[in-house]
């Protein structure tokens, strides 16, 4: 292994190369662009033995990736925000076809107004599509998760496409040391491509013609069964990856300071680092607070969430996205899993890349704790953690 200074985007490109991806198809969009650029460069320099289909849109990017994968090649794409939404139809087609494919999603806000900063609405919008969705906290994890994604997605118990989600700029464009294994090490760990079928003259397979309604229903059933099976596969892959490369993340979720915690923050992505810091600082002040970082949004780690969160005094979920008219999406899933067994609050923060610092997490947690202590059981789906300049003017308005 070699330590390299890499942005998460370049780390992801490096991982795709080490996975011996044969076909890449992608379309530029900030902040994903440096992934395509890097892959194009590696392919043109002959460092990566692959073909790049330089498509005219993201809809085409995923269609080309799916076409390549259906023909039997390991294929990769990457996008963000509007590009991901533009692809949405093809995401369903890919999972429905049960073709293993890996896609990096550099999460970014959605316009209007135009905003290129971190937000999770784009990737959260894909939760129902039948893709496995893994979320990285740091550059190293973006790299590791990309390699793992091929293994998970191509596991015969799974055979579903997978998204590797990483945050705009905070990860995508920030350089950090990344431990990059050698090609031999990766080859030894990652089996050659497996997939449920290949479409070729030899196999004469037809994919996607009309199905009887009941058959269609059962195909949906089997996608869900594969999702459930993926939970175990994720844990196994985490363990095996740990053995081979010395890094484990905890599988579906990562728990930090959780063992004795009265209160637990739940969230995903890069800001988990700030939440962990907040947890440490809160402990210094006598609050027993932990962090559960969701690593996999799909399959939803219901069992672990129940096990780790049910008997706490309270759970506070931070969403960097919102389902308008409802609440943050993580909140909804966490609340559904806990069915009223503990106090819970959902906080929507950091939309459009608004900075959320450890102090912000601390303030939210202490506010929540005092609420729970004052009122007993709390169920509060949506609290807005407003950006400082608006929070201030709102406070002034209230006091006036």
């Amino acid at each position: 292994m070699v330590l390299k200074a890499l942005t998460a985007n370049h780390a992801v490109a490096e991982a795709a190369k080490l996975a011996r991806v044969k076909v890449v198809s992608a379309y530029p969009i900030t902040p994903q662009t440096t992934i395509v650029e890097k892959l194009a460069e590696m392919i043109e320099k002959g460092e990566m033995e692959a073909k790049m289909v330089r498509v005219e849109s993201e809809h085409s990017a995923l269609a080309a990736t799916l076409g390549a994968a259906a023909a039997g090649a390991r294929a990769f794409t990457a996008t963000s925000s509007h590009g991901l939404l533009y692809m949405h139809e093809v995401l369903w087609w890919t999972s429905g076809a049960r073709v293993p494919v890996v896609m990096a999603v550099v999460t970014r806000a959605i316009g209007p107004p135009w905003n290129i900063h971190v937000e999770h609405s784009d990737v959260m919008d894909q939760r129902d599509t039948g893709w496995i969705i893994g979320v990285a906290q740091e550059n190293q994890e973006a790299f590791d998760l990309t390699l793992q994604a091929f293994r998970i997605s191509e596991d015969p118990r799974v055979y579903l496409p997978m998204i590797v989600s990483l945050d705009a700029f905070i990860l995508s464009h920030t350089v950090a040391p990344v431990d990059v294994p050698s090609q031999q090490e990766v080859d030894a760990w990652l089996p050659s491509r497996r997939q449920p079928y290949v479409i070729s003259p030899e196999t004469n397979v037809v994919m996607g013609n009309i199905a009887d309604d009941a058959d269609y229903y059962m195909m949906r059933y089997s996608i869900n069964a594969a999702m459930e099976a993926a939970k175990k596969v994720v844990e196994e892959v985490d363990e095996e990856y740990g053995k081979a490369f010395g890094r484990r993340y905890g599988g579906l979720v990562e728990c930090y300071n959780c063992d004795d915690a009265d209160y637990i923050m739940v969230l995903m992505g890069s800001w988990a680092g700030d939440a962990k810091k907040a947890s440490d600082l809160l402990r210094e002040k006598g609050y027993r607070v932990g962090v559960m970082r969701v690593r996999f949004v799909r399959p939803w780690p219901r069992e672990v969430v129940q096990e780790k969160l049910s008997n706490r005094k309270g759970v506070i979920v931070f969403d960097r996205s919102i389902s308008f008219g409802s609440a943050g999406q993580l909140f909804t899933d966490v609340a559904a899993s806990l069915y009223g067994s503990t106090s819970i609050r959902g906080v929507v923060a950091g939309l459009g890349g608004v900075d959320v610092r450890p102090e912000d997490f601390m303030n939210e947690v202490t506010d929540f704790v005092s609420h729970v202590e004052e009122f007993g059981r709390v169920y509060e789906p949506l609290r807005w953690h407003l950006p400082p300049k608006y929070a201030k003017s709102l406070a002034e308005e209230v006091s006036a």
């Binding site: 044969k22 073909k51 005219e56 085409s60 259906a70 479409i199 003259p201 013609n209 058959d215």
Partner: protein, 307 residues
Amino acid sequence: MPLRLADLPRRRYGSPGNAACPGCPETMGLRYVKMALGDNVVLVIPAGCSSVIQGIRPKSGINFPILNIVFASAASAASGMSSAFEMLGQDVKVVVWAGDGGTADIGFQALSGAAERNDDIIYICVDNEAYMNTGIQRSGLTPYGAWTTTTWTGKTEPKKPLPFIVLAHNVPYVATATVGYPQDFIEKLRKAATIRGFKYIHLHAPCPVGWRFDPSLTAKIAQLAVQTGAFILFEYENGRFRLSPYSGMYRDPKRRVPLEEYLKLQGRFQTVLKDPQKLEMLRAEIDEMWRWALLLEKGMASPELKK
């Protein structure tokens, strides 16, 4: 060497009981594709009648390996497949089989992208001049004046000159063909299969259901389209444009069968036939196509564009 019918394979490539309507031009066309290209082919089919014609899984009424795909991105999916086969060292012809809607409208961006990149695929647009699968709605390739379920009094715009638009991408091979002259179509397919890069074949496909004619007349109407000059058969190969023999004799409008002979067999043109002004508009649309074809034949299109 001209193609002899006797030399064509006799295997049945469409199974009896597939889901096409009687007289369907798409099953005719698919049969010719297989007769021309043999077994070393994979089809990519976006939404359209041909997604339904295959019938219900786990069976398929047409004998091809097929990737069915979303409506808008057939060309891109085919580019991906063709890249994969290349990387895997397999020599497979990847063929898109898409309707006029899937080609000229919703799939146009993907088509243009694949053409511009000169991806190694054969793209066949099976042009039945409307969205038949959803119940005969107008498309960019519906001719002027034709009735559809979204143009009850007749379409008010002319047909997009799609083969010329693809030709303007300056790809190695563009041809038009018709289910009315299978040998011509088969020869063009076979030629396309020998060329590397992007090949486009525009297949005229009269649809009895959408055009309102008797299902026994598909081939006849297809031939009449050529004989009246309404559809022009040509080939564009490496910058050289050539009218195909079936159309060559109709350069001179006086030699063409009167347009009405073609129109009167079809229910969709009834308002055109009753309205001399509309008939003139439709003639103008056809004249415009001929003007383009003859300019290209004379080499008036800039040959220096040639790759």
